[in-house]
Assembly symmetry: C2
Homo-oligomer: 215 residues x 2
DNA sequence: TCGGTAAGCTGACGGCATGACAGGACAAGT
DNA sequence: ACTTGTCCTGTCATGCCGTCAGCTTACCGA
């Protein structure tokens, strides 16, 4: 599937090498959580991992390269997000629950990986195709399901035909990501975490079905 | 009002100094549009402005400091966004038009300032209070109006009481910002710019009024 | 016209991060 | 013990960072 792990100069990495490599990735992750992306330096990551900058450069071309690696691992885990929507109903009380669980699960994922996701978002916004690809991979796991759900309802005539399912689905998902990234803003608006979720679920439900949920 | 413009070492900046300062800011803006934030170096900005790094450090403590300055200028301009909502109606056809114009105006602003807004978003997400303050200043110009509109409808009993107007308003505004930042993603989902806007307007209308618009 | 003063700019410098290389340390098999 | 291939690091040239002293320029009052 994915070829063997290799160093920058082409050697295959053995057991010890992979451990070092992973340690560097872990330390980089921690640093991203604690300091601004712009200030994360190779030398700091190496120091924290108890090794030297030269070692870092054996496994990654630069900080960005290592970040892409972390993001890739996370994107793989994001496949689990599809469970939030697979086989769910959007009608009646079940619909309200689906919306709630989607909001819950998605925001949980985003919060758990917030540091790396910030960087992925930035890279994607700056037009970097590699970051964009990863971001879409993560979002697609939810967006495509959501798009199908909307299309389904549309086919049954429950939603106007001039609605674009992909646009609505994408906008809703992107909304969730942005809210998760900027929860601090909401608290200064006087909105508490606990209040936020049901309101987001309401918006999601409205967007998908066009109607208020029956609770 | 705002004290005189000063250099880092406390001198007041004269006409020439202010021109240089502004030129550095302009060049920094350009650089932010063309290269990743992480790679923007003082020396590059200075070179582009036809001056030396030392001059840059006379006016700004570092790149971040200069970015905050640009962001402040932009936040001042964002006051114009209030016009998009002042005295608008959310009922009937007028409501649909209000939603459309809000989406249009807001996304236009975001696209015009996308480079600097990316950085502000990142800074805010990383927990930097200064960036968060600027971001909220920009968003508040729209969010507070939107919150009032929702509260008003709620007072008339047209919206459920358990809806939190600030949460809904914030989520909708944040959605617009995120969509504007990641339009590229939508095009790979097969959603064109022209299709996107009415669907966003629909979501905004649904969120504010709880009902589908009458077009 | 002529200093005097403050603003404005830059060359130069120590310090640190970067990225490349060669060579030493280490584990595993013979 | 010896060989082999993996793994790590000391070292070095390069380039950016951030600061300072000192030079040039503009303004102003006498």
């Amino acid at each position: 599937m994915t070829g063997q792990v290799r160093t920058v100069d082409g050697r295959v990495a053995g057991r010890r090498g992979q451990a070092t490599r992973q340690k560097l990735l872990d330390c980089l992750s921690e640093m991203l959580s604690s300091s601004p992306y712009r200030d994360v330096k190779v030398i700091d990551v190496a120091r924290r991992a108890g090794t030297s900058p030269a070692t870092f450069y054996q496994y990654f071309p630069d900080v960005e390269g290592a970040v892409l690696e972390i993001a890739d691992q996370m994107a793989a885990e994001s496949a689990g997000l599809t469970e939030l929507l697979e086989g769910r109903s959007w009608t009646g009380k079940a619909g309200w629950q689906t919306a709630q669980e989607l909001v819950d699960g998605f925001m949980e994922f985003w919060r758990k990986n917030d540091a790396i996701l910030r960087v992925v978002d930035l890279g994607a916004a700056e037009g970097d195709k590699r970051f964009n690809k990863i971001r879409l991979k993560i979002l697609n796991s939810v967006t495509s399901s959501l798009t199908e759900a909307i299309s389904g309802l549309q086919a049954k005539g429950r939603i106007d035909k001039d609605v674009n399912p992909a646009a609505i689905a994408g906008a809703l998902v992107v909304m969730l990501t942005a809210v998760a990234s900027h929860q601090k803003g909401f608290s200064t608006w006087g909105v508490k975490q606990a209040e936020l979720k049901p309101n987001l679920a309401l918006l999601v439900h409205l967007g998908v079905t066009g109607k208020k949920p029956t609770k």
